[in-house]
Each structure stands twice: as structure tokens, then as C-alpha cells.
Amino acid sequence: MSEAAVTVGGTGTPDAPDVVMGIDEVGSRAAAVVQNVETVIAGKRDAVTAALTVLLAEGHLLIEDVPGVGKTMLAKALARSVDCSVSRIQFTPDLLPSDVTGVSVFDQASRRFEFKRGPVFANIVIGDEINRASPKTQSALLECMEERQVTADGTTYVLDLPFTVVATQNPVEMEGTYPLPEAQRDRFMARISMGYPSPADELAMLSTRETSSPLERLATVVTLGELRAMIAAVQHVFTSQPVKEYAVELARATRDDRQLRLGASPRATLQLIRAAKAHAAMHGRDFVLPDDVDALAVPVLAHRLVPTSRAVGAHDRDSGPLIDAIVRRIVGETPVPVGSARRI
């Protein structure tokens, strides 16, 4: 398997995939990956699927939850299942931007400055506890996420593709955190939360991980080339006009909703459709259904929306996160398109 070369000053277009992959193949490979990851993260199929969806859609994933529920484990397991480079950045308040992107050091031997690549130069970058870093450092990572390149000392280094950041974040009210502002949350394609495992899953975990980390035993099921082929196949998934209209209608509904102060951005609509394509492909389908959009509406839209203070005040906390409930309500109320057929 050839490693994709780092192209200095390149255009950033993805390389041609090594293998051409049919949509059914994408589906079966995706299922294999999900199954593989699930051997270490039991009972979290939704989270695993969402993570793989984001990877295939070339987006970035934000995992928000309390410490110790397997956020990092999920990211690592995903990376290990796909034979690609992984790096991990533990964000701390004193972490500098160059600790993320890399730094130019003077090489005594060659007597010139040489760029030492930071951990961001990997296919999957795990950013642990991203909200513990200073805003400046956060911004450095976020620039890489958006531009898919690193600029240092006037030289632009294009990042290897695929490039996906899986950032984890503790709930904002915890101490020593710098919450991500709305504009930066918008860069993440999806946000998921892991949630606590069920007692049975937790019990199973105790026995399997008593002695060693299961990650070490995790096999690779998809090569990097195959991953690229899958990503290419996802890009060719067909999105019909009614489904596009449906996505637009959902976004419009969030902007007009009385309970929301900030609605979904056009970027959100775009990412919703991209994610829906990946979701369709993972299910072996070469076209997007409204169901794909529905399934991803909460992970893709929820973290971008800001509820009104009145809605927050009126919300019953026992019934789950407010924003998720609002998104689900909007999805339920928005009519599903039926195409332009003549009705009888």
C-alpha cells in the first residue's frame, strides 16, 4: 500500500483512488468496519455509524461527553480498523498552535530550517478535550480542518487525504474549559455523544479489558486505498431534487423556529447532504433517501443551533437534550417530499 505523498504547495485535490469500488462493496466494507469497532465499543452502534459516516463524508466529528465513556477509544478503534495514520493530541491550556501544526527547527547539519510536522499530519487526528486548550490553539486546529492544509513560514503543506479530526469535548460547564464558540462548532460535520453503556455492556467490558487493551488485538479491515475508494464512491451517490429540497426545508425550518435563536447555516445544509450521501452508501444504496437525512439531522444540525432562553427555561431536563428534541420535532413536522408525480 503506497503512502500518499505530502504535496508541498499542492492543490489539495484528492488523489485518484487505488481501487474502483461498487456501492454494494462500500456497504459491506462499512459494515465490516462498524462490526470491528463494535468489538471494543459495545452497544454504541449509533455513535460508531455516525463516526464512520463522517469519515466517509470527509467531515470532522465532535464527540461530546463526560470523561471515561470511550470517546478516545472510539476514535482510536476507528483509526485502527482503517489502515491509516493516526495521531493524538491531548489539548491542555498551555498547548501552543505549533504543538498542533508543527514547527520549523534549525538543522545544524544542513544549516537550514526544517519543518517538523506536527500531529495534525495524519489521516485521523484525535483531539482530546479540545475545549481545554486556549482559543488560539483551537483556532490553529480549526484552520487545518477547514483548509486541509498547514501554512508555516510561508510554505503551505497540504494534508494527506483523507483527513478527519475527531475531537472530544467535555461538557462545557466543567472546570478549566474554553467552550468552542458557535462559529467553530459549525466546522464540525457532526456532533455525537457516547452516553453511558448499558449495565450488561459495562459488565462485558470489565471481563474483556481486565488484562489488556482490546485495541491491540483490533484488526485492520479496510486499507487506506480502499477507504479512499469508498470516499470516492460516496461522492458519486445520487441526491434527487426532492431530497435536496427537503434538506433546504429542514434548514429553513430551524431558522424560523420559535424555540431557536440561531438556525442552521448553509454550510450545515451542505454537510447534511454530504453526510446523507455517506449514510446512503454505507447502507449499500446509490441514492439518498429522506430517511438518510432524517437519521443525520440530529448529529449534523443540533450542535449548530442555539435555543432561545425562553425555550431553555421551559425545557424539562429529564426529557433529554433540548436541542435534540427541537430537531426531532422539526423533522417530524416537515413534510416528506414525494417527488413531482401527478397525484391521484
Binding site: 445520487f238 434527487s240 426532492p242 431530497v243 429540497e245 427537503y246 426545508e249 424560523d256 423556529d257 420559535r258 446509490d286 441514492f287 439518498v288 433517501l289 429522506p290 430517511d291 432524517d294 423533522v331 417530524g332 413536522e333 416537515t334 413534510p335 416528506v336 417530499p337 414525494v338 417527488g339 413531482s340 408525480a341 401527478r342 397525484r343 391521484i344
Partner: protein, 779 residues
């Protein structure tokens, strides 16, 4: 939650209730041409208001929706008790067993009155009761449709009942202005409903009209406009008028009683059948008995035949006039004040006779003590009921005895009012013997009176025998020309022949005549009550006699039948000769006095009489037609639904987007069975919900739904959705649809299936979709 199912505010409910009320009472106005007066309409309005607004009140206090119709029916019962219960209720409104008995009698009376009254009917209590019950039930149905089911468009179906009925009974059908008003009220109801829905939708946070412009969604918001409502109303009314126009053959006679067939006693005694049958009876049945304080013993008239059409004597059809109540009867036609009259009260108690015609002496001044609604006929002063019969009646009739002198009769003018011209009508073709006989008898008569006396004397003469044996040719037992001619030759017959012959000869001589059917004076018994002799009249006293008209005196009975009844004093030969006092009437004596004929006179004076079996058959036919019409009306939604299903199947086989059509049909079936989804449900979710049902435990049904789902998803959202599918694919779609529908139907209980067939809710969704779609494109 779907906005249109949001709970309504009190004001919205009130608006819907008021619109329903207006719609119903205006539709009820369509019955106007059928029923006299307007009192009945106010009653209907009261009942409708009570029912509908009680429903509103019940909903305002959050009564469970399923209970509301039941409680509305209870309110209806209380109102009916208040209005019709009479003294049988507790505290005026609480019904007792007696109340229900009264209701039963009223319903039976209503059936009779509908059979016997002609248009416009007199709103007698049984009829108004039936109207009140009908209106109340319609109100409950309308309320269910508008408020519970929220399908006000279907409210047109119950409202069609009053709108269509006139079309079945009178050719003109309902008034056009009423139809227009009904349409307007229907529009108003739809309009109110649309406003209510829009308000509910806005309250749910959607943005109104824009929602419909984006795409054609599964649940199209109701963004109806006046035009759209108008279109729907027009379709409904067009259907109504087409239905009404296409049933002219269902004439009055089928739905109401049919006086045109001569069956004046449609459900009771047919006078000529019974005339013959009762005369033949070995043992007579008591008809009625009476007590005459003054010793008065008149004939009792049941009905009068005044039209002679050559073969048949028939009564003139007249509508019952609701003003002609028997408590005050008019002075008889043609009776001048110069003629001496006296009043004699007679107490009559009916025994066995059952007829809608009351035995009453002619003329009567008034009748008291009758149960039910009885009215006198213009001209003949015969008395009939529209809602009951003589069974169990006991009444006091005040007879007006007319005692003309022969001089007064002789002085009668030969000129008559035009009204009387019809009593002189004789067909053109007449056997010569009739004219010759009349001329011979009356040659020496100086006046019509003398001619009449001569005719009676001729028929009572020794040449004529009261005989029921000769002649015995076929058809002799009628009252037609041929029979009369034969009778004049053979000079033997019984009362119908004597009466009809005298009537015809009188007409031939220029004297207006008619035939009365009724009873002779009966036989006195030994029994006395309060010193008054009880006189019994039985079936052997049935009789027919002629009445002749003399200007200034009016209708005067004659008795040409030898050996029967009483010969009036004024009609005896030599009466009124110089110095002679008016002669007393003389009862007939002798062996023929019972007048019992020995031959079968079943076919009597009125020509073809109606076989009771035929009458029963007609009743069945009538009931059948009504049932058929009701069934057809009930099946209209089912027919629409079926046509849509067939259209979809055609689309599956031949049209574009066949999977779409198949899926629509499956979804519509689910909606019909009450398991339809909301507009936010995708095909995949819908399929998942369906296959989760018990009936889809069968793998074949599940697979069929999944194949349908995949096909519709690919068609709607796939890259090559618009391509024309192969015939095989279409056929498999049809099969899959059939399998899935069968499973869906198998999953439903009988009542759900019946509702799905008879009142398919998917039709309403379809109408909404059409309306919403049109507006969305036009916006």
C-alpha cells in the same frame, strides 16, 4: 402532532357548530315543497340546535369525543320527550316506558301518513315527530363528521338526505333557491373549517402559505380558498341534482300512498272488495255501532266516487287540506237557507272496521272525540285520516239532516256551476240502450227532480229483481257501460248495479250524480244505554247508493236498490203532490233486506280492484326502492374509493411512476383502516410500521411491502426514477400491492374494514391534496 388534529378552542368549536347548524337547517328547508306550513321547520331547527349546541357544550367541558354523540342522542331523546311525550314523561323531559310506546305509535302513524298523504302533506304530529327524529339523527351524524372526524366535506352526505327526498316525490325536486342556499351554507361550513385549520397550523408554528409552495408534500397544508371550496360544493350539488334528476320514475305512487290506483283503502278495507266479500260473509262482522238520541238512522258514507270513465267509477284525487279539521265542517255544497235542516248528534263506536275513511253521515256538521288527525274532503265531505285509522275510535258526529220538500227539489235550476260539470261527464262512446232507457223513463218528467224520481221508481219497479245470480257473464260485476247495458236488458243485479245505473241515467238526463259507498242504517238491538237504543252496523250493511245534485239543496241521496236501505221520503213517486206532507222515509222490508249477494262480487263498481297480495308486493317494492336509494347513497364514497384504486392500478400497469401509484394505494388503504401515517413519515418508516404489525408476520407480506418500498424509494429519490419500468416489474408491483393490502385488511377488525369501505377517510385526504396542490402551484 398534526396541526389539524390540535384541540380546537371554544370559539373555533362554536364557529364550526354554528356553521353545521346553519347548513343542516337550510338543507332541511328543501323539504318545504312536501310539507304544508312552516311550523315543522321551526321544530326541525329547534331539534338541530338542541342537538348540535349540546354537542358544543359537551365538548367545551372536555367530554371524551367518543361519548359526545351518545350524549347528543340522549339530549335528542329528552327533547323528543318534551315535545311529543305528552303526559307520559317524568318532569316533562324524562321518558318512561309509556313515552316509548307513544313514540312507537307516532312512528307507526308517521309511516301511515307518509303512505297516505299527498303533497304537500299536513304536518300532523306523527309526521313532525318523524321529521324531528330524522333531523336529530342527521345533526348527530353531521356533528360527528365535522367535529369528531374533522371531515366537514363529508357532511354533504347526510345533508343530501333532505335535499334529495323532494326529487323522489315531486318531479320538480327541491326549490332551486333552497339548493343554492344549501350550497352557500356548505361553503360557509368548509370555509369556517379551513380557517380553523389554518389557525391551528399557524399556532403549531408553521408559516402558512409558504409551506405549500416548497414541494408537493405528503401532508399538504390546507390552504384552501373560496374557489376551491366552491368547486367541491359544486361537485356535491351536481351529484345531488343528477341523482335527483335520474330518478323521475320513482314516482309519488311508490313512495307515498297511491290514490291514483283506486286503492283508497290502501292498507285497510278496499270498499268494493269488501263490499262483495262482506256481503258474502255467512256471519257478518260488526263494523260499528251507534246511539242516536233522536232516533235518527242515517246512511254512513265512507267515500264518494265521482268520476265515471266508461269502465270505472273512481274518486277524484285530492290532497288533504290541513285546514279542514273535523271539529268544524262546512255547510254542504249547494244547500240554501230555504231548505229545512236540523242537527242530530250520533255517538259512534267502531268495532271491527279498519279503514282510513271514517263512516260519517252526509252531511255532517262536526265530529268530536277522534284520535289522530282527521280531515274532511272538499266537496264530498268524506272524512279521512292521514296518520291513523278507525281502529278503536269512538266519536260523536253531529249529522246535519237536510229535509227538502219536493217543491224545493222540483224548483231546482237546471243551470249549474262549472265546478259541477265534471259530475255530468259521460264518455262519448255509450251503449245506445242507456240513452234510450233514459229518454224513455224521463220523457214525461217536467224537472230534473221528476226525472230522478222516475229513474228511481223505474229501477225499484217490479221489472227489476235484486239478484246476484243473473246475468253471470264475465265482467258483469263492474260498474262500466257494458255492465250497465247488460243490467238494463236482464233487469237483475245488486246494489252496485242499481247505483251505477241510476248515476249514469241521471247524468244522461242532465242531473249531476255520484256514488257513495258506505253503510246502510244498520239494525237496532234490544240493548239501550241511557235509554238510547244501540244500533249495530255490520259488514252486511255495506252498500252503494247514488247521490244527485239539485241546485239550492245540494247532494241528495236516492235508493234505487230494491229491498235495501231506506227510500228517502222526497224521492217517492207522488211525493209533494198537492197537500201531501213530506213523506217519511221508509225502511225497506222483505227478504232482500240484507241484500246479501250470492255470486262473487269481488270485482265491483270500481273496475279493477287491487289484490291485497299486489298491495303487499307494492309495499315491498316501495320499501325496496327506498332501501336501494339509501344503499346507493351509502355506497357513493365506496364507489369513489374503488375508482381511485382502479385508476392507481391502471397507473401501475401503464402510467409513469408506477411504484408511486402502488405506494399511494397502500398508504390510502392504511389511512382507510386508521393506521395512516403523518406527513412527516417516510416510506421506510411507514413500511417499518406496517411490517411491525401482526398480520405481517407472514414473510411473503413483509417481503411484498419491502419490495414496494424499495421500488417507490428508487422511483422517487433514485437516479433513474423517471424511467419507464418493464411490464414484468409492473405486474409484480400489482401482485405485491395485492399481498400487502390483503395483509393490512386481515389485520383490521370487521368494523374497521366496513368503515374503510363505506367511509374511506383517504378520500378526504385526496380532496385536501387536490385543493392544496392546486393552490400550491398557483401561489
Amino acid at each position: 402532532m398534526r396541526p389539524d388534529l390540535m384541540p380546537l378552542s371554544r370559539a373555533q368549536r362554536l364557529a364550526l357548530t354554528a356553521a353545521s347548524f346553519l347548513f343542516l337547517v337550510i338543507a332541511t328547508m328543501a323539504l318545504g315543497p312536501l310539507i304544508a306550513g312552516s311550523g315543522w321547520w321551526w321544530l326541525c331547527a329547534f331539534i338541530a340546535a338542541g342537538t348540535l349546541f349540546s354537542g358544543f357544550g359537551l365538548r367545551s367541558i372536555r367530554t371524551p369525543p367518543s361519548l359526545v354523540p351518545v350524549l347528543e342522542l340522549v339530549v335528542l331523546l329528552l327533547m323528543l320527550t318534551l315535545l311529543f311525550g305528552g303526559g307520559t314523561s317524568i318532569a316533562l323531559v324524562v321518558p318512561t316506558a309509556g313515552t316509548f310506546e307513544t313514540f312507537g305509535e307516532l312512528m307507526a302513524g308517521a309511516q301511515r301518513t307518509i303512505e297516505q298523504q299527498s303533497v304537500p302533506a299536513v304536518p300532523v304530529p306523527p309526521l313532525t315527530f318523524a321529521l324531528a327524529v330524522g333531523t336529530g339523527l342527521l345533526a348527530v351524524v353531521v356533528d360527528i363528521l365535522v367535529q369528531t372526524a374533522r371531515m366537514p366535506a363529508l357532511a354533504a352526505a347526510p345533508a343530501l338526505v333532505p335535499v334529495l327526498i323532494p326529487g323522489f316525490i315531486i318531479e320538480a325536486g327541491a326549490d332551486v333557491p333552497t339548493l343554492v342556499l344549501t350550497a352557500a351554507a356548505y361553503l360557509l361550513l368548509l370555509r369556517v373549517d379551513v380557517r380553523v385549520r389554518r389557525r391551528a397550523r399557524l399556532a403549531a408554528g408553521e408559516e402558512g402559505d409558504q409551506a405549500a409552495t416548497v414541494i408537493a408534500p405528503k401532508r399538504v397544508p390546507i390552504v384552501s380558498t373560496f374557489g376551491a371550496s366552491l368547486g367541491l360544493a359544486a361537485v356535491g350539488l351536481l351529484a345531488a341534482s343528477v341523482l335527483a334528476a335520474s330518478t323521475p320514475s320513482v314516482s309519488t305512487s311508490l313512495l307515498l300512498g297511491s290514490p291514483s290506483q283506486g286503492t283508497l283503502f290502501a292498507r285497510g278495507v278496499s270498499p268494493f272488495i269488501d263490499l262483495g266479500r262482506d256481503l258474502r260473509r255467512p256471519e257478518p262482522l260488526p263494523a260499528f255501532h251507534y246511539f242516536a238520541r233522536d232516533g235518527d238512522r242515517p246512511y254512513f258514507t265512507l267515500l264518494t266516487l265521482d268520476r265515471f270513465e266508461g269502465e270505472v267509477w273512481a274518486p277524484t284525487e285530492r290532497a288533504v287540506d290541513g285546514d279542514n279539521t273535523v271539529d268544524q265542517m262546512p255547510r254542504p255544497d249547494g244547500l240554501s237557507s230555504a231548505v229545512e235542516t236540523s242537527e242530530h248528534p250520533i255517538d259512534v263506536v267502531v268495532d271491527e272496521v279498519r279503514t282510513t275513511w271514517l263512516p260519517v253521515p252526509y252531511p255532517a256538521a262536526r265530529i268530536e272525540g277522534l284520535k289522530g288527525s282527521w280531515f274532511w274532503d272538499d266537496g264530498s265531505l268524506t272524512v279521512r285520516s292521514v296518520d291513523t285509522n278507525t281502529g278503536g275510535q269512538s266519536y260523536q258526529v253531529t249529522r246535519l239532516e237536510v229535509e227538502p220538500t219536493p217543491q224545493q227539489l222540483r224548483a231546482a235550476d237546471r243551470e249549474f256551476d262549472d265546478e259541477l260539470a265534471s259530475f255530468l261527464d259521460l264518455p262519448d262512446e255509450m251503449p245506445a240502450i242507456i240513452g234510450e232507457t233514459a229518454a224513455a223513463i224521463t220523457a214525461s218528467a217536467a224537472s230534473p227532480y221528476d226525472a230522478a224520481v222516475a229513474i228511481q221508481a223505474y229501477l225499484r219497479g217490479s221489472e227489476f229483481d235484486y239478484s246476484t245470480e243473473a246475468p253471470v257473464e264475465d265482467g258483469y260485476d263492474g260498474g262500466g257501460f257494458d255492465v250497465i247495458a247488460t243490467f238494463l236488458e236482464t233487469k237483475a243485479g245488486y246494489c252496485v248495479h242499481f247505483a251505477s245505473t241510476m248515476a249514469v241515467l241521471a247524468r244522461e238526463s242532465g242531473i249531476p250524480s255520484r256514488i257513495s259507498i258506505g253503510y246502510t242504517q244498520g239494525s237496532p238491538t234490544d240493548e239501550r244505554v241511557d235509554g238510547v237504543l244501540r244500533i249495530e252496523v255490520d259488514t252486511h250493511d255495506l252498500h252503494a247508493w247514488p247521490e244527485l245534485y239539485f241546485e239550492g239543496v245540494g247532494w241528495v241521496p236516492f235508493e234505487p236498490t230494491p229491498g235495501r236501505g231506506t227510500v228517502p221520503g222526497y224521492s217517492r213517486p207522488g211525493a209533494g203532490e198537492e197537500g201531501a206532507p213530506p213523506l217519511a222515509s221508509t225502511p225497506a222490508t222483505g227478504p232482500g233486506s240484507t241484500g246479501r249477494p250470492d255470486i262473487d262480487p269481488d270485482t265491483g263498481l270500481a273496475g279493477p280492484v287491487v289484490d291485497p297480495v299486489a298491495t303487499a308486493t307494492q309495499l315491498w317494492i316501495r320499501t325496496g326502492v327506498v332501501a336501494l336509494v339509501v344503499a346507493v347513497l351509502l355506497l357513493v364514497p365506496a364507489a369513489f374509493r374503488l375508482s381511485r384504486r382502479l385508476a392507481r392500478v391502471r397507473r401501475i400497469r401503464h402510467g409513469e411512476r408506477p411504484a408511486d401509484a402502488a405506494w399511494d394505494e397502500l398508504a390510502a388503504t392504511a389511512v382507510d383502516l386508521g393506521v395512516g401515517g403523518s406527513g412527516g413519515e417516510t416510506p421506510r418508516e411507514f413500511a417499518a410500521r406496517l411490517t411491525g404489525r401482526e398480520a405481517f408476520g407472514d414473510a411473503a407480506a413483509r417481503a411484498a411491502v419491502v419490495r414496494l418500498r424499495d421500488a417507490v424509494e428508487r422511483e422517487r429519490y433514485g437516479p433513474d426514477g423517471a424511467g419507464t419500468p418493464s411490464a414484468a416489474a409492473s405486474a409484480s408491483l400489482v401482485d405485491d400491492l395485492a399481498t400487502a393490502r390483503a395483509a393490512l385488511l386481515a389485520d383490521a377488525v370487521g368494523a374497521e374494514r366496513a368503515r374503510a369501505i363505506l367511509m374511506p377517510p383517504s378520500l378526504v385526504d385526496g380532496v385536501r391534496r387536490v385543493l392544496g396542490g392546486r393552490i400550491a402551484r398557483g401561489a
